[in-house]
């Protein structure tokens, strides 16, 4: 490669980095089922009646206490331990409200014969490891051993619900969670407050952005109608000036997907316990 080109390419890359680096993000590839509702029956072991009954109870729980409780059955653990997979799935879905981390995930993997109750940070004091262990050993596993999956899941969920409802501290009004609108505001407000700099900075940055893109096209590093990496947000985008930018968003799918139900952004540090039969 001739030297002049590589220098140009380097300058181009520098430019791209300056403008796009903060926004670039790469989605982690990990095989998770979609959060289609409060009961996700990937393994297909629940009948419709049990499902509806559970959905109703879990929805009622969230309405009363803002606690999110999701039941999931898995076809497979994707080669992970149930502890690791449950924790990653919990975080991926973001079960529980973001501020309080009040989420519970009941994971059943019938093919690996493993079950786990994963508890969010905020409920570790209520639903302790010892309590979840008792529920799994005493309520869930005996029914699973008798091949009564719907019964075990239902009674296990009931026991968890009972524990959760016994704590009056949990009876708090549901907190609104910041949606897309708030996120956009969070980006916009700083700009609005720097009014003097706003117009000029925008024009300059946009001009330079376009320039770099053009240089890129000229160098053949970017195809003209590009299929570029999704930028999580380029504020040129949100300002409506990005005729060159691909559409992309950093707001996780859980904000949108889920057919009426979505995770609140809660997290878990591995609380709860597991069992096998």
């Amino acid at each position: 490669m001739p030297k002049a080109i590589s220098l140009k390419a380097w300058i181009f890359l520098l430019g791209v980095f300056l403008f796009l680096a903060p926004g670039l993000s790469f989605a982690q590839n990990y095989d998770f089922p979609a959060l289609t509702g409060r009961v996700v029956d990937e393994a297909n072991i629940l009948d419709a009646a049990t499902k509806i009954d559970l959905e109703t109870k879990l929805e009622d729980l969230e309405k009363r206490t803002s606690t999110q409780f999701v039941v999931v059955t898995l076809k497979s653990l994707r080669g992970r331990t149930i502890e690791e997979y449950s924790n990653r799935l919990f975080r991926h879905w973001g079960i529980g409200q973001k501020e309080t981390n009040n989420g519970v995930l009941l994971v059943v993997a019938p093919n690996e014969r493993k079950v786990r109750i994963e508890v969010g940070y905020g409920l570790e004091g209520t639903l302790t490891d010892a309590i979840t262990s008792v529920i799994i050993q005493g309520t869930i596993l005996p029914r699973f051993r008798a091949n009564d999956y719907p019964g075990g899941i239902q009674k296990g969920a009931d026991a968890v619900l009972q524990v959760l409802s016994g704590n009056p501290d949990q009876f708090k009004p549901k907190t609104a969670r910041p949606g897309v609108f708030v996120s956009i505001l969070g980006v916009l407000i700083p700009f609005v407050f720097s009014v003097p700099g706003l117009v000029l900075t925008l024009i300059l940055l946009h001009f330079m952005f376009v320039l770099f893109v053009n240089i890129g096209v000229w160098l053949g590093l970017i195809p003209p109608q590009s299929k570029r990496k999704r930028s999580s947000w380029s504020w040129v985008d949100s300002m409506g000036g990005g005729s060159y930018s691909s559409s992309g968003s950093s707001w996780s799918s859980s904000d949108f997907g889920g057919g009426g139900f979505s995770g609140g952004g809660g997290s878990s540090g591995g609380g709860g316990s597991s069992g096998s039969w």
Binding site: F19, A21, L205, G269, G270
Partner: protein, 199 residues
């Protein structure tokens, strides 16, 4: 007046440029990694706190297992003696010491939990069961905390070594050293699970 406006604009522009090209990234990632490290220490401490109770409970049922009980107590004392402070994560030797001491403790703890198989009374003791589930829960939390720490350190170390972070690492943040990370896998760390319900 005009010069002032130009200066203000230039400052605003420069500020945006700097924020955009990652001047804040190294300190941000550093804080994140340190927070993850505190969580790791927190969970190891929690495990350490559970051990005396567990040893007492097992003692009541399995006097003849004195060797294991003594080993656990000693390993715990050794692990507690390892001095850990903010510099531990950037000091390979201190970090290795910490990791080895905790791994040693994990090993003997696994043996302690395994002896229950020979003592049906111990196995059905409510206190023991509660302690066991707490210990298992703590081991799992340690695994999660370690995973989070490893990921945070990976991001931080990468930022120190890659463009554009390396520019800041060479200029403003010269004292920032790469952090150490765990080399022993979670699986090796985890105490063996005892399935006491197998019929």
């Amino acid at each position: 007046m005009r010069a002032r406006i130009v200066a203000a604009l230039a400052a605003a522009f420069l500020g945006l440029q700097l924020a955009g090209c990652g001047i804040n990234t190294i300190p941000t990632e550093e804080e994140r990694a340190r927070a993850a490290w505190s969580e790791v220490l927190n969970q190891y401490q929690r495990r350490s706190d559970l051990i005396p109770n567990l040893v007492e409970t097992v003692k009541g049922y399995a006097q003849q297992e004195r060797d294991v009980l003594i080993q656990v107590t000693e390993a715990r004392a050794k692990a507690t003696q390892v001095k850990v402070d903010a510099s531990t994560i950037t000091d390979p030797e201190a970090f290795k010491k910490f990791q080895d001491a905790q791994a040693q403790l994990s090993g003997v703890l696994g043996r302690l939990l395994a002896i229950q198989e020979r003592y049906p009374e111990l196995k059905s003791n409510a206190n023991f069961l509660a302690l066991q589930s707490q210990l298992e829960g703590t081991e799992n939390r340690i695994a999660v905390a370690r995973r989070d720490y490893i990921e945070a350190v990976r991001l931080y170390n990468t930022e120190l070594k890659t463009f554009p972070g390396i520019l800041w690492a060479m200029t403003l943040y010269r004292n920032n050293k790469p952090m150490e990370t765990f080399t022993i896998t979670e699986e090796q760390m985890r105490t063996p699970k005892v399935n006491f319900n197998k019929s």
